[in-house]
Amino acid sequence: MFKKFTLILVLSVLLISLVSAFGFAEKLTVIGPWAGAEQEGFMPVLKAFTEKTGIEVEYKVYRFEDLVTMLPAQFAAKKTPGDLIFMSGTEWMVKNAEHLADLSDMINEGEFVPGTLVSKVDGKLLAGTFTGKIKPGFWYSKSFFGKHGLTVPQTWDEFVTLLQKIKMVPGIEAPIASGDGTGWPLSDVTEHFLISFGGPALQEDLIAGNIKWESNIVKGIFEKLVFLLKSEYFSEPAEWTTILKQWEKGEYALYFMGSWITGMVDNPDDLGVFSLPGCEGMVFGPDYFNVPIYSENIEDAKKLAAFLAGKEGQTISASSGGHIATNLGVPVEVYPTVDRGVAELLKGVQSLPDLDDTVGGEFQPAFWDQLKLLWVKPDRLDDVLKVLDEKMP
């Protein structure tokens, strides 16, 4: 009896130590949030880097929320799980400035779309900018519009009329599909409304906490949203990939989504997109990456940083579709047709950061959660706005 137990004990301990010992390769580790099809678009970039420099790269998937929890502990122990980490939220970077390497010598500021490069902290460039995704507006099927004689609206009234017309088309469940990932894209639609009617400055003020959610100006904009919700122009929130399929089938006409949608549909050439009339800003979410100073291959990591931010890396990413370059040196021709249209949309409007991604913390899940509530209970607007103010840092 005794012997058997000790044997099992010893074996288990051995097993664990063996397994824990694994996982120490000498290549660069890149950490990013993309998985599945998204990841397929990113791997060619890494491969090109390896071909160019001979440095091997390994890619690991981590979600932002997990990174936020684990990185403080790792940094405190002067360790890092990756040599180059894609991280969201510029606030986070500022908070962790001491742990991040300065990339100023690897990245030339003049090359980028204004507003897309992270501001320097104490002269240090804490993060590089890769390609990004835009959340331009409502996507629709051109053939669907053509079939039912619908046109892109130029004013708010035309928009409402459009919704009325769509509602009457047979087979339509609701004019606008409401996707529910973990709360976005509801947050994306809401931000679009805020930007369109409050101007780009409103988005920035809300992020900075200069304006309250309960203020009249914000409330007024929400009331437009509530009006649409109460008129049942929006569907109930549903799993965003399931509802995407239903939208393709014609059960919904409009779908507010980010530019990555072009990579997700069967027929990207049929896609058209329009923003709310009068919209002068667009949420452009570039993917930021940084190099922690605890990386064991910091020089190689910096080279990768330069590659990713540079024209070469961004061109490869842009050509795979669904990504918009921040580097001005990327020619418009490399984009697939639909993305070209989206890239054009970006010109002439101000690029803005995503609100909930930037604020983060407890606010982000609360924001998503409250919007889910607002969508099914539009008359609770006052409560929702109150909670949003409570949860702002």
């Binding site: 109930e236 549903a238 899940p365 409250q370 889910k372 509530l373 099914v376 609770r380 909670v387």
Partner: protein
Amino acid sequence: MHRKATFTHLAIFILPALLLICVFVFYPCLRTISLSFFSEGKFSLHNYYEVLKSRDTINLEGFSKGFPLGTLFHNLLWIIIHLPLTTFLGLTLAVYLKNVKGGSIIKSIIFLGMVMPMITGGVMIRFIFDKNIGIVNEFLKLFGFLPKAWTAYPETALFSLIFGSVWLWVGFSMILYSAGLETIPKDLYEAAQIDGASSMKMFFKITIPLLKPITIVIVTMTLLWELKIFDIVYVATMGGPGSASNVLALQMYTYAFKALNFGKSSVVAVFLTIITLAVSIPMARSAGEGR
């Protein structure tokens, strides 16, 4: 006959466990308690005040406007609905299935809900109440009701979770009552039958009283489960929409690991523990009696 222990005895038999428990359970407990009393580096009751005042915990407006009512009330509701239902159903099923052909298979089927990880339990609940593919809606359609996304609306989200969890947990009380029923000597029933007692009378005068000890266990364990519920809510609704299905354990997690506010999260943990300790006293007493 208890032997007197020597130091070696203690070292071998008692010490390892004691060490583990002290370092990894007892000390963290004390630490949590102390964390709850510190706000911004100073000893204060500020955290307690904030948590109790917060609409996350108690939302009196919810009683007139609708969910959320606050985590304290959500857990309370869970108890009020789940406990009587599962206990009663468990007993009924245990009695009903007593001599059924293939009864053990049926009992195993009902017990399956207990065997699975609660994270899958949450997935199943989400699945059952889904608008398009959930059976609840399909069942209600038979009676002419329109399908509804039960977990997406604040007034029904919590209830879907609660009723779903009844389906999961009934197996527990049923199995324990089954075992309890076996321990009741048959002669008691025979004697009562000879005296002309009806089954109803026998049930209330013999069965139920004799099942008291096991009822205490069932009630205690169920209460503890209802108070500590986490996995199901995390995966099915994440406490939403609008915190309408938030529970104490999830609130604690959000404060600690999303807001990084350890003071407040410790307060919630302390509340939770006070309630669970209070609930466990009857069972601990009866366990202590059998020495």
